[in-house]
């Protein structure tokens, strides 16, 4: 949510530059991703925090993580010159192998949360407001 929020309030050109560095998409898709992905991150984050549409949000998060993992993995395999140089801005920046490990762990956690959705929903808005709704 924080990551998405920071991107949506900043000029989209900053995130476009990050996407271009991965040399993963064609220019049109890069532009679309630069505009849409931050909002997707932001809203998925909000819904996860609130526990609203939790199962769908977890699926959305898993989908985003798969995309990020693909992008990072191919960047590593192709030895793209994406260094942990702060050239991606003043916020946190990690080496690509660390990002791969972190996102993989996050993906596994997301999977576990989805698999154990009843427990995951325990303090969610879904559970509180809509007790009888099946996950």
């Amino acid at each position: 949510m924080t990551s998405g929020f920071e991107k949506v309030i900043s000029p989209h050109q900053n995130f476009l530059y990050v996407i271009q560095s991965y040399a993963f998409l064609n220019p049109l898709l890069e532009e679309m991703a630069a505009h849409l992905l931050p909002w997707c991150e932001f809203f998925i984050g909000i819904f996860l925090v609130l526990g609203l549409w939790l199962n769908r949000s977890l699926l959305g998060l898993a989908f985003l993580l798969v995309m990020f993992l693909e992008a990072v993995a191919q960047a590593i395999l192709r030895h793209l010159p994406i260094e942990e140089c702060g050239c991606f801005g003043g916020l946190m920046s990690f080496p690509l192998p660390s990002v791969l490990v972190f996102d993989t762990a996050l993906f596994i956690l997301t999977g576990l949360m989805y698999y154990k959705i009843e427990k995951t929903q325990r303090f969610s808005l879904d559970q509180y407001l809509f007790k009888n709704e099946a996950p």
Partner: protein, 213 residues
């Protein structure tokens, strides 16, 4: 069944409220930032090149240790050579804290500018970037560049101790922060923000096609 339908309907209403509130917060923050932001300030220092009446004005925020900045600099140089009267270029410093020599290289470049040698010094910094950025101490490499562009080393030494040099660099950095710059190179091409060498190339090509050059 009716109960379930009303639950789903209530859930959708809450979702819409959450979405609208979130968008309102984002737009509010963006409006506040735009209000504070202002525009790119004109540069009256030695860090300008080309004819001020040229149709393409480029303001570049640069970190000399950034590889993409080096690529962008080469691209702009080539473009200015191929389309000589079309570009007016201004450079501003945006040293990144994660670059060991970002600030130091900017200090040397600023001092070179005060001796009227900014662009030759800039060109050597870009050309030799791959070498000096790997060094344990880059200052000797910058001193060598200073000699190569025939700077007065005594004046350079005094200049490097002058606090106004760092103030000048920090002023550019703060301007960049206010504009929302996060990465280098960031260009403003006729006021339009463009980040990275790839987008720079696309934007310049667009100009060439539109102008029929």
């Amino acid at each position: 069944m009716a109960d379930k339908r009303s639950q789903v309907s209530a859930k959708i209403k809450i979702t819409i409220i959450v979405v609208v509130l979130s968008v309102a917060v984002v737009l509010g923050v963006k409006s506040l930032k735009a209000f504070v932001k202002g525009s790119v300030q004109a540069n009256i220092s030695a860090r300008v090149k080309g004819d001020k009446k040229a149709p393409v004005h480029i303001t570049e925020f640069i970190d000399f240790e950034c590889p993409a900045c080096a690529e962008g600099a080469r691209h702009i140089k080539k473009f200015m050579t191929e389309h000589p009267p079309t570009v007016y270029l201004e450079l501003k410093y945006f040293p990144l804290s994660s670059h060991r020599y970002g600030l130091l290289s900017a200090q040397y470049a600023e001092c070179a500018g005060r001796q009227g040698k900014f662009w030759p010094f800039h060109d050597y910094l870009i050309e030799r970037q791959a070498n000096w950025k790997r060094l344990a101490h880059a200052a000797p490499a910058f001193e060598q560049i200073a000699q190569d562009v025939d700077m007065n080393l005594e004046i350079l030494s005094q200049c490097l101790k002058d606090t106004s040099v760092t103030e000048s660099i920090q002023k550019d950095r703060q301007e960049g922060d206010t504009l929302g710059i996060k990465s280098t190179p960031t260009y403003y091409i006729n006021g339009k923000m463009v980040v990275g060498a790839a987008s720079l190339g696309t934007e310049l090509n667009k100009y060439v096609q539109e102008a029929g050059h």
